[in-house]
């Protein structure tokens, strides 16, 4: 067993303190220790984006991040994004545009799409496509996802 370390960070706006093994991933901490199951475990090696979260305003694959590295940082998961204004717009647009089939990729895509929209509010289809390069969807073929993100963007302006 790895040594336990005490860490403190902000999660969806709330200060959290806990003790985690040094080798644990942030994804495992979120799902198994904190009960936040919105962030999905799929490939576990950075390929699919199902585990995407925001850390200090940038998106990362939480399956690749050591939980100890969360210390002192600000995390937002899909639960936090969903409660935001952009999150609400994205959720409505995903539903309205039929961008969800099995739904497994959806939380990661919501987080990544919110990041794309915040950083590049006028992003066109090509830029959105590049922005979500790290998110795999096995069902939709991406077209409806990109349309949904564009629709969420337009309601912005």
């Amino acid at each position: 067993m790895s040594a336990n370390c005490d860490i403190e960070f902000t999660l969806n706006g709330v200060k959290r303190q806990l003790s985690v093994p040094a080798g644990m991933s942030t994804l495992e901490m979120l799902r198994e220790r904190l009960g936040l199951r919105g962030t999905k475990y799929a490939c576990g090696e950075g390929e699919c984006g199902a585990c995407t979260i925001l850390v200090d305003g940038l998106t990362l694959n939480s399956c690749l991040m050591f939980a100890v590295d969360c210390d002192g940082r600000e995390l937002q998961t899909v639960e936090g994004v969903a409660a935001s204004e952009v999150g609400a717009r994205l959720r409505d647009a995903f539903v309205a545009n039929g961008a969800v089939q099995c739904g497994f990729c959806t939380p990661g895509l919501m987080v990544q799409a919110s990041h794309v929209i915040e950083h590049n509010p006028g992003a066109g289809a090509a830029e959105i496509r590049r922005g979500i390069e790290g998110n795999l969807c096995r069902c939709t073929g991406y077209k409806k996802i990109i349309e949904a993100i564009q629709a969420a963007e337009q309601k912005n302006g």
Partner: protein, 288 residues
């Protein structure tokens, strides 16, 4: 997995070097290589896990006296957003633009890419073409020392470098290429960013009219380490990129590479890629 007995987060380069001197340390930067490698059991943790994120000396991109110093902790995203890198080290910028996904670029550091020493590491190929060097820090006798190793001497095999376990990679230094230096990076894979390159090529040169000078060619994933191709460079030096010269350069390059067959490509296919794509990349550079 070996047990991590202690987790440490030094706040300065001095402190980090002191911890390394005591030994049995695994360095953690962005974790994008370390997490999958330890998870799969390909790499074992040492008893001390040292997170270097708080070492301020490892940050920043600055130019002084014609040399760009890039801190080991600089991320691929930071490189991609740097005007200095985009304007003066454009061939490196291109590799960062093609690197993995947004999520990976936000976490992955330049130092991690260099220390991981993959034959296919995407920043290594343009860095070789830019004649970069590594800056290594250690504390052998109580005071901080640095030594520099040119990147073309740094790699000793797949995943292996001349960096000692007691040394930390502090920065990469890149001499500013001459004015008018242009370059192109090419990476072959089926999923543009996320694939590990089947081969990669960086070509740089200074153009005088159509004549190529200061030609530098580097390859990834065609030998146990990323390599320069001096014989192909010599064929092109001072010449125009006409069809006969291109073919001669490609033939010279084929004598300098030692590709293997693996899941991404056969050695035959890698040779075909090198021959055809090198010609294409050089002729692009010749028209920039």
């Amino acid at each position: 997995m070996h047990a991590i007995e202690r987790y440490v987060r030094p706040g300065s380069l001095e402190e980090a070097a002191e911890i390394l001197r005591a030994g049995n340390v695994t360095v953690l930067a962005g974790g994008t290589d370390l997490m999958p490698q330890t998870h799969a059991g390909r790499v074992k943790f040492q008893s001390v896990l040292m997170n270097v994120r708080r070492v301020p000396e490892l940050r920043g991109i600055e130019e002084h006296g014609g040399v760009v110093r890039i801190g080991a902790l600089v991320t691929i995203t930071e490189l991609r957003e740097s005007a200095l890198v985009r304007e003066r080290l454009n061939v490196l910028w291109q590799a960062c633009d093609h690197f993995a996904s947004d999520q990976i670029r936000n976490a992955a550091t330049l130092g991690g890419n260099v220390c991981n020493a993959s034959p296919a590491g995407d920043t290594l190929v343009p860095l070789l073409a830019l004649e970069a060097r590594t800056v290594l820090a250690s504390k052998p006798n109580g005071s901080l020392e640095t030594r520099r190793i040119p990147l073309d001497k740094f790699f000793s095999g797949p995943g292996r470098t001349l960096k000692k376990p007691s040394e930390l990679l502090a920065a990469i230094e890149v001499p500013l290429p001459p004015q008018g230096f242009v370059g192109e990076f090419y990476k072959h894979g089926t999923r543009p960013g996320l694939d590990i390159s089947a081969i990669s090529i960086a070509v740089g040169a200074q153009l005088k009219g159509k004549v190529l000078n200061e030609v530098r060619i580097a390859f990834g994933a065609v030998a146990p380490t990323p390599i320069r191709a001096p014989r192909a460079e010599a064929v092109l030096e001072g010449r125009e990129a006409d069809a006969a010269t291109l073919e001669a350069a490609a033939q010279a390059a084929l004598g300098e590479i030692h590709p293997i067959s693996d899941v991404r490509a056969s050695d035959w296919y890698r040779r075909e890629l090198v021959r055809n794509m090198l010609k294409r990349v050089i002729s692009h550079v010749g028209q920039l």
